[in-house]
């Protein structure tokens, strides 16, 4: 008989052990994911978490530092900065989410159809994507605002267009590789329609890549939306929004009251970094590569 004994894999049976095995070496992505999740939860539950009405002006407590009453201080009209950050998470997250969703769906559809159909359609789509890729998103958004007026809706529309190539270019080249695999030829020989092969076979295999690209893009779109509001073209006062808060607090920096700009800027930076780290963690996990 064999002298070897099979040793059960450590912690294979316990759910906790399995979680631990999954988490091994994934500290950074998990921390990043936690940050993203916490910010999203804060946005959703802002009314429950915020100690004050974000727009309540208090003339007796203007430009204060941290205190027991106002943990992160107050702004130049006496509004509670913590409450404004929590409520501000809503437009600050919603706009990038809409942009990423639109760019992700349209970009994937364009990419897969171009890779599948090829020919002149692929050339037109690729040329279009290259053209859009040449414009920085923010410039496109500012041009949009110049033509159609300021507002977050303009930012969402123009930035969706600007981020299309970020998704579509990568997905298209992956779809071309995928399309060349024998299983796609086999399905074609078996008589399945192109639409079915694309929707039922190519798309599920490309989805991890789309997810990774969307996660990373989400961070960058948030940065662009914040910048758009910072220059006064996005969210309009008095609505709380992170980019707008950075702009509002700017005069305070010189006056020795940097709280509003500092905290809003910090939240943006931490969130964008978290998105990036989560994206690269997902990439390693789902695509098995480091990018």
């Amino acid at each position: 008989m064999s002298a070897y004994q099979s040793v059960p894999a450590a912690g294979g049976r316990l759910p906790l052990g399995r979680v631990r095995a999954l988490a091994r070496g994934q500290g950074v992505p998990i921390a990043a994911g936690t940050v993203v999740a916490l910010v999203v939860l804060a946005a959703v539950f802002a009314p429950l978490l915020a100690p004050y009405d974000p727009n309540a002006v208090d003339p007796l407590a203007v430009s204060q530092g941290s205190s027991a009453a106002h943990w992160l201080g107050t702004d130049d009209t006496g509004r509670d900065i913590l409450s404004r950050l929590l409520y501000g998470a809503r437009p600050s997250l919603l706009a990038p989410a809409l942009i990423t969703l639109t760019a992700g769906l349209a970009g994937t559809a364009l990419a897969v159809s171009a890779a599948w159909l090829g020919g002149w359609y692929d050339r037109v789509v690729s040329a279009f994507l290259d053209l859009v890729f040449g414009f920085p998103g923010l410039v496109l958004a500012v041009v949009g605002a110049a033509v159609f007026g300021a507002g977050l809706d303009i930012a969402v529309i123009t930035l969706s267009l600007a981020y299309l190539p970020y998704i579509a270019r990568v997905v298209r080249s992956a779809a071309l590789r995928e399309r060349a695999l024998p299983y796609v030829s086999a399905l074609g020989l078996l008589g399945l329609s192109g639409r079915r092969i694309c929707l039922r076979h190519l798309l599920p295999n490309l989805l991890p890549l789309v997810l990774v690209q969307a996660t990373t893009s989400f961070g960058y779109t948030m940065l662009d939306v914040a910048a758009f509001s910072f220059i006064g073209l996005g969210t309009q006062p008095p609505t709380a929004e992170w980019g707008l808060m950075v702009a509002n607090g700017a005069p305070g920096i010189i006056a020795g009251q940097p709280e509003q700009s500092l905290y809003a800027g910090l939240v943006i930076v931490v969130f964008v970094i978290a998105c990036n780290l989560l994206g690269s963690g997902l990439s390693r996990r789902l695509l098995g590569e480091d990018r």
């Binding site: 695999l181 024998p182 299983y183 020989l189 078996l190 295999n205």
Partner: protein, 267 residues
């Protein structure tokens, strides 16, 4: 190849394929009677895979025609409905078992998807026929429920074969279908292919560089060299009394019992 009276399942004539100035295939003609089995052998780059892909319709011939039961195979860009109507004429099993199945599709689903497309079977009848096909190629119910990554190369190739025979094709093109497998697994797959052929009148076009297995599966053989068929005939007689010098060289390069590698072997 086989008896001349029967209508050919496959009739390829004057096939030619060029890539720029390079001629990959030149004037290749093949015909397969129902239930026949022809080996197309040659070294890498001899044009055998290109020939196979033209016959399957994956590659458009520069010149020449491919007919199944008299109908001309449309080009690669033909409408889905037209191309789909040839599914019952020709199917192909590819070399790489790791890339010839959709990695996100369970084995049984990959079979039932094809059956649902080509037959009226639904529900439990569909599941029964799927199980029957997988059983026929020697896969268990447990393997049927798994994703391709849980299967070995040989098991995946069995799935690919089951998927191809699900539509009862007139011609099955096997493009180096056992080349990526271990020798013992190769033998199992060859045995499986022989069994399947006894149960149907599907004709095989067996593309290989391996002369060692040809006689176990094909009665007829055609030898390709530099894009042309240079010799053809019954497998046993060609292997025993090769006519062309190139064929002899190919046979001599097959390792066998008592075989010792020779330095600078003469043709």
């Amino acid at each position: 190849m086989a008896d001349a009276g029967a209508p050919a399942a496959l009739e390829a004539a004057g096939l030619r394929k060029t890539y720029g100035d390079f001629v990959a295939v030149e004037d290749v003609g093949l015909s397969l009677a129902p239930g026949a089995s022809l080996a197309l052998v040659g070294e890498s780059g001899s044009g055998k895979t290109t020939t196979a892909r033209m016959i399957a319709g994956l590659e458009a011939p520069t010149a020449g025609t491919v007919r199944f039961d008299g109908r001309v195979l449309p080009g690669r860009r033909a409408r889905t409905a037209v191309r789909g109507s040839f599914a019952g004429d020709v199917q192909m099993v590819f070399q790489d078992p790791y890339a010839s199945l959709d990695r996100h599709q369970r084995v049984a689903d990959s079979i039932s998807e094809v059956l649902a497309h080509h037959t009226d079977l639904r529900g439990s009848a569909l599941a029964r026929r799927t199980a029957e096909l997988l059983d026929q190629v020697g896969l268990t119910a447990g393997q049927a429920r798994s994703l391709p990554r849980a299967l070995s190369g040989g098991q995946r190739q069995r799935v690919a074969i089951a998927r191809a025979v699900a539509v009862r094709p007139r011609v099955l093109v096997l493009d180096e279908a056992v080349a990526a497998l271990d020798v013992s697994v190769q033998a199992q797959i060859v045995t499986l292919l022989r069994e399947l052929r006894e149960q149907s009148d599907t004709a095989y076009l067996f593309i290989t560089h391996d002369l060692g297995i040809v006689q176990h599966i094909c009665e007829d053989i055609a030898v390709m060299h530099r894009g042309r068929i240079i010799e053809r005939g019954r497998t046993l007689s060609v292997l025993e009394r090769p006519g062309a010098a190139y064929t002899r060289k190919l046979i001599d390069s097959v390792p066998r019992r008592g075989w010792t590698p020779k330095r600078g072997a003469t043709a």
